[in-house]
């Protein structure tokens, strides 16, 4: 089956979603990220891999954390970085996405990091560009956010290396979350035997159990004996109409407090992709508590994004050189 993310010989060409990525490539990304973690701890936090390459961050939708971690990742690989906040630029004057992209290709961009509120935007660009140009999806609509999914799995692997022995709970607004889908795919591909989702029915997509997860509507039952609690942001800005009674009511039932966290294993870790709504989906005491790995997630996000860009840039080398010999 044709997979636009892979080259004809099965190497990573674009990163559009975690779905459809073989375990071999997921492991390659995580193992390479492991090597980049050490780079950030050195005197000089840079390697020369992407010298002379240009990485373009095109953000059609705001995101400070994702854009800055992509930017710092590209800079630590020695790439030149161009940040385009398209909300405030030519798109406002009526330029199409592909025209924007073509103009950047004319400036010799090598890697595009794309965020868009429409699902499929990164796909569209990937199908448009020449073989030596790579596209990374940094979040498209409700569809996918693969580097976030990968950095979450990377964080889990660092704290809980025995992936085949884990119970992971994803809590909150799964319906509107592109992160949750990426996470579920990455976790199941890497052999995590039990992935749970905990949410009210109104915040779960139909047939969510087909993704291979167990569904809970109650925190006490859902969190029982889990190793990892992955909180999702309550996507207020995406919500049409009243799916929930109120933020306070939500916090009472699904907000993560220490009391609810105590149902999980005593050494369970707490994760959140950010930005957090303190007092809505997570209590401040838990977010800042000693089971929280929310800030390490941000640090590891840089290593994972470095790994993805390094692997992609390396694969344009082998596709140009034929067999890569």
């Amino acid at each position: 089956m044709y997979n636009p993310q892979l080259t004809s010989d099965g190497q990573l060409r674009h990163l559009l979603s975690v779905e459809g990525l073989p375990k071999k490539i997921l492991s390659q990304i995580l193992d390479t990220a492991e090597s980049f973690v050490g780079v950030a701890e050195r005197e000089v936090k840079k390697v020369p891999l992407l010298r002379g390459k240009t990485v373009c961050n095109i953000f059609f939708e705001n995101s400070t954390r994702t854009r800055t971690t992509f930017e710092i990742a590209a800079k630590r690989l020695s790439a030149d970085v161009l940040n385009l906040n398209v909300n405030t630029s030519s798109q406002a004057k009526g330029e199409t996405i592909l025209d924007t992209v073509d103009n950047l290709i004319a400036m010799h961009a090598d890697i595009f990091v794309v965020r868009h509120k429409q699902s499929g935007a990164a796909h569209l660009i990937a199908q448009h560009v020449a073989p030596h140009i790579h596209v990374i999806n940094a979040g498209d609509g409700r569809h996918a956010h693969p580097t976030q999914g990968l950095l979450d799995v990377f964080t889990i692997r660092r704290y809980k290396p025995e992936m085949h022995n884990l119970r992971v709970a994803i809590v909150g607004d799964v319906l509107h979350s592109r992160v949750a889908r990426s996470e579920i795919h990455a976790l199941t591909t890497l052999g995590v035997p039990e992935v749970r989702v905990i949410a009210p029915k109104t915040l779960l997509p139909e047939h969510v159990e087909k993704l291979g997860v167990q569904v809970f509507h109650n925190m006490k039952a859902g969190l029982k004996d889990v190793d990892v609690v992955m909180m999702l942001r309550l996507q207020n800005e995406r919500m049409n109409g009243a799916m929930l009674p109120s933020a306070q009511e939500y916090f009472k039932t699904y907000g993560l407090t220490q009391e609810k966290l105590d149902y999980a294993k005593p050494d369970a870790i707490v994760m959140h992709p950010g930005p957090m709504n303190r007092g809505v989906e997570i209590d401040s005491a838990v977010a800042d508590g000693n089971q929280s790995v929310i800030l390490p997630q941000v640090t590891y996000g840089i290593a994972v994004r470095m790994a993805v860009m390094a692997i992609l840039a390396g694969n344009s080398a082998s596709s140009i050189a034929g067999n890569g010999s």
């Binding site: 390697v47 891999l49 390094a310």
Partner: protein, 187 residues
């Protein structure tokens, strides 16, 4: 030269010879750095032989992010994190590799080392110098000189017990029109 007449030395013996050369230069300021993977194996074996007077600091490098052929070959699927936990600043570093060939690996390793700090000196110790360098870089400490041609591939391997063996591969592809490997080995 008739290729089948090359007799390979015993790598265990070369290791002893290399250690004998290194013993006199080791000071309290020396640190050993093995280059992944063969160089790390050699370093692991050298450490007990060299640290009889005092303990020696050591680390390991995977030069994957510093290779000069990344633009042609991309990133290998497997790489190991570099581990330099000591302070590189003002140290006398002995880089260790198994087989010295073009000098490009050594250059990459030196570039990476300097991203950890500014050492006082760097020298290079190798089990075998096979000749064919392409850069003005040469090893100071050498177990054996074995001049080889470009189509020959000398490989060090380590078995489960940790003992070394050498294998020479002749790539006769051009002569015979198809890939054919002739191996000779020494344990």
């Amino acid at each position: 030269m008739n290729l089948t007449t090359i007799s390979l030395p015993d790598p265990e013996q070369l290791l002893t010879q290399l250690a004998e050369q290194l013993v006199p230069v080791i000071t309290t300021n020396t640190a050993l750095v093995g280059i992944h993977s063969g160089g790390v194996w050699i370093m692991e074996r050298l450490l007990p032989l060299l640290s009889k007077q005092h303990t020696i600091e050591y680390g390991l490098l995977d030069i994957a992010f510093y290779r000069d052929d990344f633009a042609h070959r991309g990133l290998r699927a497997e790489n190991k994190p570099s581990q330099i936990t000591f302070d590189v600043e003002d140290k006398d570093i002995i880089l260790i590799d198994d087989i010295f060939y073009t000098g490009r690996t050594t250059r990459a390793a030196m570039n990476e080392l300097f991203d950890y700090g500014r050492p006082s000196s760097i020298s290079l110790a190798v089990l075998i110098n096979r000749g064919g360098r392409e850069l003005p870089i040469a090893p100071q400490f050498i177990g054996a000189e074995i001049p080889l041609q470009a189509h020959q591939n000398l490989q060090l391997s380590r078995d489960e017990q940790g003992s070394f063996s050498l294998a020479l591969e002749e790539n006769l592809e051009e002569k015979n029109g198809k890939k054919l490997n002739v191996q000779s080995s020494a344990h």
